[in-house]
Amino acid sequence: MTARQRADRLAGLAFVAPAALTLAALALYPALWVLWLSLQQRVPIFGIARFVGLDHFAFLATDPRFWNAARVTLVFTGVSVVLELVLGMAAALALQRQRVGRRLALSLLLLAWALPSVVTARLFEWLYHPSAGLVNIVLGRPLNWLGDPTLALAGLILADVWRTMPFVALLCYARLLTIAPEVYEAARVDGAGRLATLTFVTLPLLRSILLVALLFRTLDALRAFDLMYVLTGGGPANTTETLTVYAYRSLFQTLQLGFGSAIGVVIFVLVMAVAAVYLRALRREGAAA
């Protein structure tokens, strides 16, 4: 290595240092602290602080409440993300064709997304009201949306789809705007019908943006908290208790800092694993394009 190269390298490090230090202070340090907490039994109000190693994780492995929360989290994430992607894409395609009132449609879409999620939750509390709620009036049936163990999770998923579908729709719509009209002209000249144009032209061009939307939405859904916290409190019978709600209850309501952190660590690992899979797919996508 020449002196020049060494100087370059030092300068590079110096430029990266502020970002790296900030990241370390804001993300790495708290993450390590939570990891350290998860290895302890720590209940400050009882003056308990002792090292227990992996005991909390061993307890979680046989804890039916934990496995239930994990299952609820995965079902919620899987179903809501798929619905959001399909409906969001459909909405974007419809918007692209729409001639009149496109601005209005866009602002209405944005409105649903811009509402704070606690407000959305309150809104749905009244929409799902068993006797006076709009949903049941439209359906004409007295469904017990939030109090029936077989319906509550579906109710939450619907609320989440309503709230975040616009996000996917806007991402897709933005991508659709950048597709050159010549591409479609060429397809028409080649004799492609509507279906063929959609499957062989539009969808492949949307692929990478859909992957990005998928990444964002999955990570958000895995950490979903406010909807269930406000609407059902995790009930009935814990059928809507996600891992984050379980962690919150352990940490802030019962003040078991060690045990709650252990659940937090599991969520962290889960999110990281999913992110790693997606990022690999995205990188491959980047290489192919």
Binding site: Q41, V43, P44, I45, F46, I48, F59, P64, R65, H129, P130, S131, N144, W145, L146, G147, D148, P149, A152, T232, G233, G234, G235, P236, A237, N238, T239, E241, R249, F252, Q253, T254, L255, Q256
Partner: protein, 423 residues
Amino acid sequence: MRWVALVLAVVVLLPGCAERHDGPGPVTLVFKHAKILGPSDPIPGLLREFERRNPGVTVRSEPLTWTSDEQHQFYVINLEGASPTFDVLMLDVIWVPEFAQAGWLLDLSPWVTRDELAPHFPAAVAAATWGGRVWGVPWNMNVGVLYYRADLLAKQGLAPPRTWEELVTQTERVRAAEGDPRLDGVLWQGKQYEGLVVNVLEHFWGSGTALIGEDERVLPQVDRAAAALTFMRGLVERGVSPPWVTAGDEELTRRPFGDGRAVFVRSWPYALDLFEQPDSPVRGRVGIAAMPGHVGGGPGAGATGGFHLAVNRRTRHAEAAVALVRYLGGEPAQRALTAAGVALYPTRMALYHDPDIVRARPQMPRFHDLALAARPRPVTPWYLMLSTTVQPEFSAVLVGVKTPRQALDQARHRLEYMLGGLR
């Protein structure tokens, strides 16, 4: 001079040393409390009056978020962080032993004697004391009561029910006579949250058992507890209560009754003020009764709730802070709060028979009797752990995914694991 500054700094920084010394000069107290909803907020007036009586003391009022969970979280973070950013705090009765055990509250025993607390309801005093010390001054009172449609019961010549079994037969008679399919029987709070635990406790007490026994044992009589839960599930199964009570909280259950769509509702005193509004469909038709008991169990008792006032142990102005707490919990302040017409009820028993107050709120003597017979939720530092552990289990019974026996066994197993290392 340097050493003087150093000593001063040590005195100020050392908690526990500084707290008993109110230096001369102006003192500013910070009072953290939830905003009082209602036609007028009487608190600022009370604080100005306190300042007038205590020259040199200023009180700054800081609002707290409205939901109980957020208040708890705020206190936990700020008190554990040991920051003396507020001196006097309003707290839910169920947190008092927890905060006291954590060492966050100033022991009020040197100032507030048992005699001083005697005019408050016994259930409120029980919730303010723990481990033989006084940690809070009762401020406002809440008690579970049964509201009934006096007009509908009178039509059938019925007196308000003394037992839940009687309530069921009364419901069937009234509904058969009215012939209105939209008229529900009894509404109560079955959503998976603190309110559910309150409702279950009232059924436990009415069945002659408790969640925590005299000897601190969890679920001392599982059979009776299971029978109470079976009865609650039965209310839903038999249609005495609509299926949605399993997602019902206070407001969700108060509204239909207020619209004339139910015969009974279990709620708190605040609901009566709303039922008696000029535009209310049930105005003048609502009766108040004690929570029913169970046949073969015991007499019913409502659960108490409400708020206490306490002092942050890290306060730098202990004397002034204690004075404020005693002033706000005292007779004149509670009278002013009650007279302001907000839906808060005092903890001082005499006010319930005060001629001036009774003239404006004729239901006060009735609430007095109900609050006197009421019981506090378990007074223990691990109440929240207890409550959040049993909530999903009770909810599972109500929606029929677990039998009462399964749910109680699992609740007990979990509680014994969690409390095992703590006691």
